[in-house]
C-alpha cells in the first residue's frame, strides 16, 4: 500500500511536457497525412476503372483490419531492410497517418456520396473539367459535413499515440516509463499520463459534438 505523492508528480512534469509536445507533434502531422492520403483513397474509390478501384479497396481494407501496433513494427523493422531509414518518430507518424487514412477515406467517401447527384449533373452541364468539379463543387460541400467525423478520428488517433512507445518514440507514455525506471515511482507518472488523455480528449469530443450540431445539415 502506497500513498499518492505530489512531489513525484512535480518531478515528472519536465519529462511529461516533453512527451506532451511529441504526442501533439505526432498528432498534428499524423492527422495531416491521414487527411491527405484518405482523400486520395476516397477519390480512388470513385475511379472510372476497376483496375484502380479494386486495389484501393483491397489495400485500405487490409490496413484497416490489421493492428496499428503490428504495422508500426512492420514499418520500423522492415523498411530498413529495403534501405529506407527513418527515425522512430518519423516512422511512427507515418504509420499512424497511413493507418488512420483508411478510416478518413471512409468518412470522405460518405461525405462525397452525400452530395446530391444534381451537383454532379450541374457540373457536367456547365462542362467543368474534372479537377474543377472536385475542387469547386463536390469537395467544398462534402468537407463541411465531415469535419466532425474527421475530428473524432483525430481524437481516436490521439488515444493511439501511446502505441508509439512500442518503437521507443519519446511520447507521454514512454516518458512515464523512463521516469518510472529512473525513480521507481510507477503510480504518479502513469496516472498523470492517463488523466492527461482524458483532459485533452473529453473537451475535444465536446467540441466535435458542438461542431456537428452547427455544420451538419
Amino acid at each position: 500500500m502506497k500513498t499518492w505523492d505530489w512531489s513525484a508528480v512535480a518531478d515528472f512534469m519536465p519529462r511529461f511536457l516533453d512527451g506532451l509536445l511529441v504526442t501533439l507533434q505526432v498528432l498534428v502531422l499524423g492527422s495531416l497525412l491521414s487527411f491527405t492520403l484518405g482523400l486520395i483513397w476516397a477519390i480512388g474509390f470513385r475511379a472510372p476503372t476497376r483496375f484502380i478501384r479494386w486495389p484501393v479497396h483491397a489495400v485500405t481494407e487490409f490496413i484497416r483490419n490489421t493492428p496499428l501496433l503490428v504495422q508500426l513494427f512492420f514499418f520500423f523493422f522492415v523498411l530498413p531492410e529495403f534501405g529506407v531509414q527513418f527515425s522512430a518518430l518519423t516512422t511512427g507518424t507515418i504509420a499512424i497517418g497511413v493507418h488512420y487514412s483508411t478510416y478518413t477515406a471512409q468518412v470522405y467517401r460518405a461525405g462525397i456520396e452525400a452530395v446530391p447527384p444534381g451537383q454532379w449533373e450541374a457540373a457536367t452541364a456547365l462542362s467543368l473539367p474534372t479537377g474543377r468539379t472536385w475542387t469547386a463543387v463536390i469537395l467544398p460541400q462534402a468537407i463541411r459535413r465531415i469535419v466532425p467525423a474527421l475530428g473524432n478520428y483525430v481524437i481516436s488517433m490521439l488515444k493511439d499515440t501511446p502505441l508509439l512507445a512500442g518503437i521507443s518514440v519519446l511520447e507521454m507514455l514512454q516518458q512515464s516509463r523512463l521516469e518510472s525506471a529512473a525513480t521507481f515511482q510507477y503510480t504518479e507518472p502513469l496516472t498523470v499520463v492517463g488523466v492527461a488523455f482524458i483532459l485533452i480528449a473529453y473537451p475535444a469530443s465536446l467540441l466535435m459534438r458542438a461542431l456537428e450540431r452547427r455544420l451538419v445539415r
Binding site: M1, T66, L69, F74, V78, Q106, K159, P162, I198
Partner: protein, 224 residues
C-alpha cells in the same frame, strides 16, 4: 522460419490472441449492456454515473489503462494482476464504454410507443426492457458491435507490450531469432486480417439471425 518457431510461438500466439479477443469481448458486452441500460435509467444519479464511466474510459487510451492496471494497481492496493487478465480488464472496460454508447443509441431508437404499450400492459420496468425494448434494439446494435469487435481484435495486439505471448509477441521473437522482419510481419498481418474477416462474416450472420427473429430481412452488406 523454421517449423519449431511456428509450432512453439506462432500457433500458441494465435490461440492466445483468440482467447484474449473472446474474454475481452465477453467482458465488454457485459459492461456495454449494464452501462448502456443504466444510461437510460430514470434516476439521474445512475445516468450520471454511467455517463461518467463512459467518458472516462472512452477518454483515456486503452494502452495507458492497461499499463496502469498492470503497474499501478499493485502498488496502490497491494494485489497484482496476471498480465493476461490486466489486458482483458483494460480491453473489456474501455471497449465496453464504446459499446455502452451503441447500446444507449439503439435503445433510444426503439419507438417510444413500444415502451408505452408495455406500461399499458402493466409490465414492470425490467419486463419492458427485457421483453420489448431489448429484442428490438439488439439487431440494431450488431453492425456497430461488429466494427467494435474488429477494433478489439486489433487492440489485443497491445498485450504484447506487457509480455503476453500473443501472435504479435511471437512475431517479435521470431524476428529476433531469424533476423527476417519482412516475412514474419507480413504473415502476422495476414493472420490478423483473416481473423478479422472471419469475425466480420460471423457477425453478419448473427445480424441476419437476430433480424429474422423480429421479422426484418437484413439489408445485404449491412455491417460497416
Amino acid at each position: 522460419m523454421t517449423a519449431g518457431l511456428w509450432t512453439h510461438w506462432v500457433l500458441p500466439g494465435i490461440w492466445i490472441t483468440l482467447q484474449l479477443t473472446l474474454y475481452s469481448a465477453a467482458l465488454a458486452t457485459a459492461v456495454a449492456f449494464t452501462v448502456g441500460m443504466a444510461r437510460t435509467h430514470r434516476s439521474r444519479v445512475v445516468r450520471f454515473l454511467a455517463g461518467f464511466y463512459t467518458e472516462v474510459f472512452r477518454g483515456t487510451s486503452a494502452l495507458v489503462l492497461m499499463f496502469w492496471l498492470f503497474f499501478v494497481l499493485p502498488s496502490l492496493f497491494g494485489w497484482a494482476l496476471v498480465p493476461m487478465w490486466a489486458a482483458v480488464l483494460a480491453l473489456g472496460l474501455s471497449y465496453g464504454a464504446y459499446g455502452a454508447e451503441v447500446v444507449r443509441g439503439a435503445l433510444n431508437s426503439v419507438a417510444p410507443a413500444q415502451r408505452e404499450a408495455g406500461i399499458a400492459l402493466n409490465f414492470t420496468r425490467w419486463q419492458q426492457m427485457r421483453l420489448i425494448q431489448l429484442p428490438q434494439a439488439v439487431p440494431e446494435m450488431i453492425p456497430p458491435f461488429s466494427n467494435l469487435l474488429i477494433e478489439l481484435l486489433k487492440g489485443t495486439a497491445l498485450v504484447s507490450l506487457l509480455g503476453v505471448a500473443d501472435v504479435s509477441f511471437a512475431a517479435y521473437l521470431v524476428r529476433l531469432a531469424t533476423q527476417e522482419s519482412a516475412q514474419i510481419y507480413s504473415v502476422t498481418l495476414v493472420i490478423y486480417f483473416v481473423i478479422a474477416f472471419v469475425l466480420a462474416r460471423g457477425m453478419r450472420s448473427v445480424e441476419r439471425r437476430t433480424k429474422a427473429g423480429i421479422g426484418i430481412t437484413a439489408t445485404p452488406g449491412g455491417a460497416r
